[in-house]
């Protein structure tokens, strides 16, 4: 997070924001697990949209490797959310 904030402060916005958001999400997960409450899976869903936006930024800058990296990270977070939340999803509610 400190590296991310420092990078953003020096004008390296995409990379800084990428580092900061991933670190923030991980930090929140670590704290919630240390306190023995479940991690906020739904938070991943929100974060995946930010990852997708960052992937678009990298695509604009023609940085193919980082674009793919962020794109798959976004997909992973989306998949992770859907996989775990299915266990809790109240299908009957929707039916």
């Amino acid at each position: 997070m400190f590296f991310g904030v420092y990078a953003m402060g020096k004008g390296i916005l995409d990379e800084g924001l990428m580092m900061f958001t991933v670190a923030l999400s991980t930090f929140i997960f670590a704290v919630t697990h240390l306190l023995h409450v479940g991690g906020p899976i739904q938070f991943d869903l929100i974060m995946s949209f930010i990852m997708l936006a960052i992937a678009i930024e990298f695509a604009y800058k023609k940085d193919i490797l980082m674009t793919l990296h962020r794109y798959f990270c976004s997909l992973y977070l989306l998949w992770n959310h859907s996989r775990i939340s299915k266990e809790y999803w109240n299908w009957r509610h929707w039916q």
Partner: protein, 377 residues
């Protein structure tokens, strides 16, 4: 670093950093709160209440810190919105996690004054931010004003929509800042006033500092009149708000602004001591309030000699209110006087804020016309 590598971002263009960092974090916090509010009603997924509160608490601490970054870059309006959202959310989460309490609606309603004012000021230079702030302000004040069915749904939707708008704005800024392409068609805020000089130090102390001070005064006055006992949510709110005021006051004091900062500091210390003692389970003493009133009486005279009549009247009324509460336990009288003093301070800080952003006075016809989009000659 060169401009080619980093799009249109230039070194020192702090508005871009702020838009991306602080508003994105605030957007995340609001979206998270909105999703969880709606989930409580519609139950579309399973979110543990402790998980929700801990996530919200961590996010709000980061939001609170990023507000200070924006203040010390002289982005006052953005900073006020971010700071109030951070404090409100921290109070809610801390109260819920530690004592299972609800948030303090009265505090949110007071914060909404600042946020709606910020929305009006944003509206002049950036309609997108203005709209997002206005929805947030309305969402925060409606539960206190009206008690209606479907309140939680509207709260959730309001938080979700305003959060998404803030996130959209900050990501649009990121795209613009990095690539120079305004793909999302978000109007840019290039308010690059990051040079701190003697005038901006005064503004930085008076606008957010005195605004927080005025809101705390009104909160304390309302507590004297309306409440029958000291709630822990109120203590959390008082402690956090007084902590913020103390930071502004100490900053102003070191920069040579004496009377205003002494007034703010002594009240903030008194409130902080009160809330700390109440939170630790003891009964707070009124001795600090009496000492505070003596100091406020002196600062009131200083303001009167300086012909600063609004702040002078505010300080003197506040002092009399403090004596009425500390010496004679006249709570209704004390509360009324403190609320009047708070309203005077509120007017003063809002006036300085509007002058800073627009150059007009708060009650001038030109500013009202410009805000509502009335055609100017």
């Amino acid at each position: 670093m060169n401009d080619h590598e980093h799009g249109s971002v230039k070194y020192g263009d702090t508005s871009t950093y702020l838009s991306v960092a602080a508003l994105l974090l605030m957007g995340l916090l609001l979206v998270w709160a909105g999703v969880c509010y709606l989930n409580n009603i519609w139950n579309f997924t399973s979110i543990n209440d402790d998980t929700y509160q801990i996530t919200k608490l961590i996010l709000s601490i980061f939001v609170f810190i990023s507000a200070w970054y924006s203040f010390f870059r002289c982005l006052v309006t953005e900073g006020i919105v971010v700071m109030f959202t951070g404090i409100s959310s921290t109070v809610f989460s801390l109260g819920s996690l530690l004592y299972g309490l609800e948030g303090l609606n009265r505090l949110d309603a007071l914060f909404s004054i600042g946020i709606i004012m910020a929305a009006l000021l944003f509206h002049r230079r950036n309609k997108f931010l203005g709209c997002a702030s206005f929805i947030l302000g309305l969402t925060m004040c409606l539960p206190y004003i009206f008690n209606y069915t479907g309140q939680s749904t509207l709260m959730g939707l309001g938080l979700l929509i305003s959060g998404m708008l803030f996130m959209y704005y900050s990501l649009g800024n990121l795209l613009y800042g990095e690539t120079g392409k305004n793909m999302l068609r978000v109007s840019q805020n290039r308010n690059n006033n990051s040079v701190i000089n003697s005038k901006s130090v005064y503004v930085l102390t008076i606008v957010p500092g005195l605004l927080s001070f005025a809101l705390l005064q009104i909160l304390v006055g309302l507590q004297f009149i309306l409440a029958t006992s000291i709630s822990l949510s109120y203590c959390f709110a008082e402690a956090l708000l007084s902590l913020a005021i103390m930071i502004f006051a100490i900053y102003g004091l070191f920069k040579g602004i004496i009377a205003e900062t002494i007034m703010m500091l002594i009240f903030a210390v008194s409130c902080f001591v009160f809330s700390f003692v109440a939170l630790s389970g003891a009964y707070p003493s009124t001795v600090v309030d009496i000492l505070m009133s003596v100091v406020l009486f002196a600062t009131g005279f200083v303001f009167m000699i300086r012909k600063d009549y609004i702040l002078g009247c505010s300080s003197l009324l506040f002092s009399i209110g403090g004596f009425a509460e500390g010496l004679f336990a006249f709570y209704i009288l004390a509360g009324t006087l403190i609320i009047i003093a708070g309203l005077l301070s509120l007017y003063y800080s809002l006036d300085r804020w509007v002058v800073l952003e627009t150059g007009y006075r708060l009650l001038s016809l030109d500013w009202i016309k410009a805000t509502i989009g009335w055609p100017q000659r």
